[in-house]
């Protein structure tokens, strides 16, 4: 066991009298990976900002290397060797890998003349240290999310940190990329660096972390070695109640909703066929770039099929544009709900009616009252927690915001709902609520198709599963597959993928 590097004692933080942290103790040791978990709004982000000197705690003590810190500023934390990698990485998309990595050092050393040679050397050194392999001359905007993350890691490493903090590093990564990141973090642990990780996917963190601390509503719930935790305890500590992970297995039905026959789109997907009956929840999974998203997009006219046919409720439909899809009563919940699904500055009501304005047109004006009433109905049925229907969506949590996106489409009375990453970035409780809604929808006869990376989500909620690889379906199953089997199919040694 390494020595304690950072120690927090009874940290409290209040904003305008409301406590976001209610007395947290935490000890981070060198050469140890510590995971901080908790639902949305549990205080994880506030705690990170306290450690990195962005926020000053209202009460409590912070010790770094045994020395008590008072009025710590972000610069003090950096000087003490604390580096934070935030969710958005804060990289410059128009600069190259080498420039991004070396930038901080260049500024710190007050170099006036730019030497690309030195930058490349610095970048090369940092990449070697973490075991990343990126082209130093590639522009950041051309890299994948995982690539950008590696650059952010290199930039942190170059400063010789003693504590590295990663805020939800896996949100946008595929399973394979997560494995790679874990490899890097293990490597850093060997170098006696303390690592604090925010993550709330138990399966993901189990093989990596040494110690786990769980917060809920700003309160300390439990802490201990990872071996002391199992699925049940983790979920219970996260949410405060037990969740049954009962799988979704509807009664088989012979009432067809959707049938997709041999659709292809060059470079996107090839010869895709599947069918969906009443009650079915169909899940599509695959690695990033496998064509899984494009298949979902084909159903919403975003990536139209060039050949083959799509039959919805016994009628062949042509889906060449979003307009066609909306005409045929298909709804689409995009992966990036904040930028593609919602008008965050507008109230819940405006978001709810955005796709169904036609319903409210009358001879003179719009039926505003009905808009409000319908919104209230959906908020109640979907369990949206908000002060009122008039608050902007930006004030809602991730789970509630996603319910508003669902409400927007349900208000159009759709025949088919296509979702990409329906519960990305949500905590266990919010995930369970979204899943319950989707199951209910399927039962009432709405076709539900979801693309997901989250294998637990897939296995528990989809009674039909498609596994996509290299733009083709490699396995179509009525869900007798286990997570392990799906993983094996996804990973199935593919040299081309390794090189990429």
């Amino acid at each position: 066991m390494g020595e304690v590097f950072v120690e927090l004692k009874g940290i409290k933080k209040a904003y305008e009298g409301v406590y976001a942290l209610k007395g947290i103790d935490l000890a981070l040791r060198k050469g140890e990976i510590h995971c901080l978990a908790g639902g949305n709004g549990c205080g994880k982000s506030t705690l990170i900002k306290t450690i990195s000197g962005v926020h000053e705690p209202t009460a409590g003590e912070i010790y770094i290397d045994g020395q008590q810190m008072n009025h710590m500023k972000p610069l003090d934390a950096i000087e003490k060797g604390i580096q934070v990698i935030y969710q958005d990485f804060a990289v410059f998309p128009n600069l190259t890998v080498a420039e991004n990595i070396a930038l901080n050092t260049e500024i710190k050393d007050r170099t006036k003349v730019v030497s690309y040679k030195r930058m490349r050397e610095l970048a090369g050194k940092a990449m070697a240290q973490i075991g990343a392999d990126l082209n130093p001359d590639a522009r950041l905007e051309d890299l994948s999310v995982a690539g950008k993350q590696m650059v952010a890691l290199c930039r942190a490493i170059i400063n010789n940190p003693k504590l590295l903090i990663l805020d939800e590093p896996t949100t946008a990564l595929t399973a394979k990329e997560v494995q790679k990141l874990w490899g890097v973090l293990r490597n850093l642990r060997e170098q006696n660096i303390a690592i604090l990780l925010v993550d709330h996917k138990f399966d993901e963190i189990r093989p990596l972390v040494d110690r786990l601390t769980i917060l809920r509503n700003g309160e300390f719930v439990s802490s201990g070695l990872i071996s002391e935790y199992g699925h049940v305890r983790f979920q219970k500590d996260m949410t405060g109640h037990d969740f049954s992970t009962e799988k979704y297995r509807p009664e088989p039905s012979d009432e067809p909703i959707l049938s997709v026959e041999h659709i292809s789109s060059k470079g996107n997907y090839e010869d895709i066929s599947f069918a969906l009956s009443k009650g079915d929840v169909l899940g599509i999974t695959g690695l990033l770039g496998s064509g899984r998203n494009e298949i979902a997009e084909a159903l919403f006219g975003l990536c139209p099929a060039e050949s083959g046919k799509i039959v919805l409720h016994g009628k062949e439909v042509k889906l060449k544009s979003i307009k066609d899809a909306v005409k045929h009563e298909i709804g689409f919940v995009p992966e990036d709900r904040l930028t593609e699904g919602l008008f965050t500055a507008l109230p819940i009501t405006d978001n709810t009616v955005a796709s169904s304005l036609k319903k409210y047109v009358r001879a003179f004006g719009l039926k505003s009252f009905e808009m409000g009433e319908n919104t209230k109905t959906w908020m109640k049925r979907l369990g949206v927690v908000a002060v009122s229907k008039d608050v902007p969506v930006s004030s809602l949590s991730g789970g509630n915001a996603q319910k508003v996106v669902l409400g927007k489409w349900l208000n159009t009375n759709p025949k088919l709902l296509v979702l990409v990453g329906p519960s990305v970035g949500m905590d266990v409780g919010a995930k369970a609520e979204i899943h319950a809604i989707l199951r209910d929808l399927a039962q009432t006869g709405v076709g539900v198709v979801m693309v997901t990376d989250d294998l637990s989500e897939l296995v528990e909620n989809c009674n039909r599963i498609l596994i996509v690889k290299d733009h083709k379906i490699i396995k179509s199953s009525d869900n007798s597959l286990s997570k392990k089997e799906i993983e094996a199919l996804l990973m199935g040694s593919d040299q081309k993928e390794e090189e990429a």
Partner: protein, 335 residues
Amino acid sequence: MKNPLARNKQVGTLIALMALVCVLMLIFCPGSYFTAKNAKSMLFQFPEYGILAFGMMLCMIAGGIDLSLVGIMNLSGLTAALILLALIPEGTEASAEFTAVALIVSSVAALLVGALCGLFNGFLIGYFGIPAMLVTLCSLQLFTGLVYGITGGPAVTGMCDAFKEIANGTIAGTFVPYVLPIFVIVLLVVAFILHKTKLGREIYYLGTNRKASVFSGINTLKTSMLTYMTSGILGGVSGILITSHLNAAKSSNGTSYTLLTILIVVLGGVHPDGGKGDVVGVTLSVLLMQMISNAFTLLHISQDVKNFANGALLILVLVCVMLIRKVEEKKKAQQ
């Protein structure tokens, strides 16, 4: 669509600024500001650019801008003047009925030209996704160049007296100019479009988040085209008014209005990023700017200095808008 508290604050600020102008004028030239004659002259002036400001407002709420409004105004004003001159040549007399028909025909043609100009802008913006700032800056030159090419430089003049009456006459027996009811009608129509129609909602959606609008199944091309078309029609209305007011159609009429309308709209609470603002704020802002502009005139301040002051004021307002947003974001981040 609106936060009542924020809106009341906006309205309150505008009314306070108006009061401030009154107080200052009471100190500096009480003799000439608070007179019936001055009030009358104010009533004649603001509808012209007030109507333009509504066009600017629609485009800015939709997340764009219409810099070509003055060009549209002059092109449609010229259209009205030429058609009128073709029907009733200079120096000839026509019957009252024929004059009425000629006025209607030329006005409708002017509005049609305005609509076409707007559709042109809206198509380029909506279909190709070229930034509105660039499209309308270019089309401003295009429309202005067309007017210059057609007139050859000198103003087109000599329209019949009835045409002059539109912007210079008053309703018989009162001091109320015709332009005032025209402004009020336009105001009501714009308010209806923005707050009570599907198009109005879609303008707010488009300005708030273009991508989400597309993903929500909103036809953003149609919304863009209709928004800029409406703006173009409003440019046409202003074109008729300014041509009548000056009794001359030329390419250089009202060139200071582009900056003035942006100032009015931003001062009226329309956010430069789109999605925010409404008719009440912009209307009050039109009145405020009229009071300021009139005060400048009475203090014998030249048009050039006015333009300078308007530019400075716009920068000041924008800085305030951004500062307020920063404070709000900080508050939000702390929650």
